[in-house]
Symmetry: C2
Subunit: 228 residues, 2 copies
DNA sequence: TTTAAACAATAGTAATACTACTATTTAAAT
DNA sequence: ATTTAAATAGTAGTATTACTATTGTTTAAA
């Protein structure tokens, strides 16, 4: 079976839909490669233009600036992640199983291919971990937020919060716990890799360290409902 | 009583100690004001130079670049926070009280004055919340980390982890929990302010929302040891 | 009184972020 | 089939940012 997945992303993110042209698609693909390679700070439209054999001015017709381009990539990721959560939770009844699956999705690499653009998943993952917070930790958040471009993040958060409430209806902070889960999955992966003293990975460097930490955290906070 | 607090910050952070001259001190003070006002992305040495009536080149003699200047401010903050934790925990015996105090320190504004430089504490606080992660979420972390400039952060984290272990010696992830506590205190404050849908603040907008969320989280994860 | 070191300012360059304008292609209208 | 206009990409710039080589001035030690 071969199917194509695409998401309708908020038009406010771009000036011209990169999905609407070949050049646009190459733009996104190469942007992911370059942002991974250089880090967002050193990534420029000039370098991206060189990579896809076009000019800066052309890229500016697609995106207002590099911040918006990153926002586009993240909107895509958040939408995809919400889809994956929905897909994987299909036909599951046990909310504990559901939460375990969510942690797995948040801490493991994205599944390679499966009916969607062949973005480099490993690179995309690293971008999510290292760069995602930079789209909202800016002076202009309030203004940017008005155009609803953070909706995919909020939706993902709400979906996880739903499962949290399903697991423990008495828990008071389902949304904050969900956003904490998402953000913590990012920086604990980052820390265990680059600043291990801020974690307890130890010399062994367990592969699923972050998943273990988050599982322990989540199921202690929500109580082991199997005991009830 | 009037006393002066100063920390010996790692020389690798700066080229020339800003504490060693009047101009240097004004530099830091104005940098805090400007970074708060403009956000780190829009903050430049040119603008800072204009503010303190000097030139870019002069600022470059103190700091390699604006990233290092931010790192200096954060080193100062982390050191100060570790001092505050140590100071406030003095003569406390109950580890639960200690943890409560730590959460208070992490979520409330820094005490105005108390024997140290009159940096604008409210601005400094907002900088910690919005900009701090930008000093390590960069491509060059590994290289930068070698010069030990993140030691104050690691020390603060270790100090909190100590109290965590004191409260519950069986808990397996004291350091990860501590770094999660610190980071979560930042972005839950940010979210509840700018992206409230990612939290449960509701319309009321409780003043101590983040502290309440963190307390609940921390003491559930570590178990209510008073029951033992 | 000399001298050298410490410090700050001048005057630049290269890279980055962004834009006005022009040329070309595509496709719809006549 | 030809005209026309809309869409698209490219040229050629500017202002700002990040950073440096060099010169000039002050300070304090010899």
């Amino acid at each position: 079976m071969n199917f194509h997945l695409s998401f309708h992303l908020n038009e406010k993110v771009y000036l011209r839909d990169p999905e609407s042209s070949e050049l646009g698609k190459r733009l996104i693909k190469s942007a992911i490669d370059l942002i991974y390679e250089l880090g967002f700070e050193h990534f420029t439209f000039k370098k991206l233009a060189l990579e896809v054999n076009t000019t800066e001015a052309t890229i500016y017709r697609y995106f207002e600036n590099k911040h918006r381009l990153l926002l586009y990539i993240l909107n895509w990721y958040w939408s995809y992640m919400e889809f994956l959560v929905m897909f994987r939770l299909q036909n599951m009844t046990d909310p504990k199983e559901k939460l375990k699956t969510i942690i797995e999705l948040l801490t493991q690499e994205l599944p390679e291919s499966s009916g969607m653009m062949d973005y480099n998943k490993r690179y995309l993952n690293q971008i999510i971990i290292s760069e995602s917070s930079k789209v909202y930790l800016v002076k202009e958040v309030k203004e940017i937020n008005k155009s609803e471009v953070f909706k995919p993040y909020k939706d993902l958060c709400a979906k996880i919060a739903e499962v949290v409430t399903e697991y423990n209806p008495d828990y008071q902070y389902p949304r904050s716990l969900s956003s904490t889960l998402i953000e913590t999955s990012h920086f604990q992966q980052f820390f265990s890799n680059y600043l291990p003293k801020l974690t307890d990975v130890g010399a062994l460097g367990q592969k699923d360290y972050t998943a273990l930490f988050l599982s322990n955290l989540l199921f202690t906070v929500l109580g082991d409902q199997s005991l009830k």
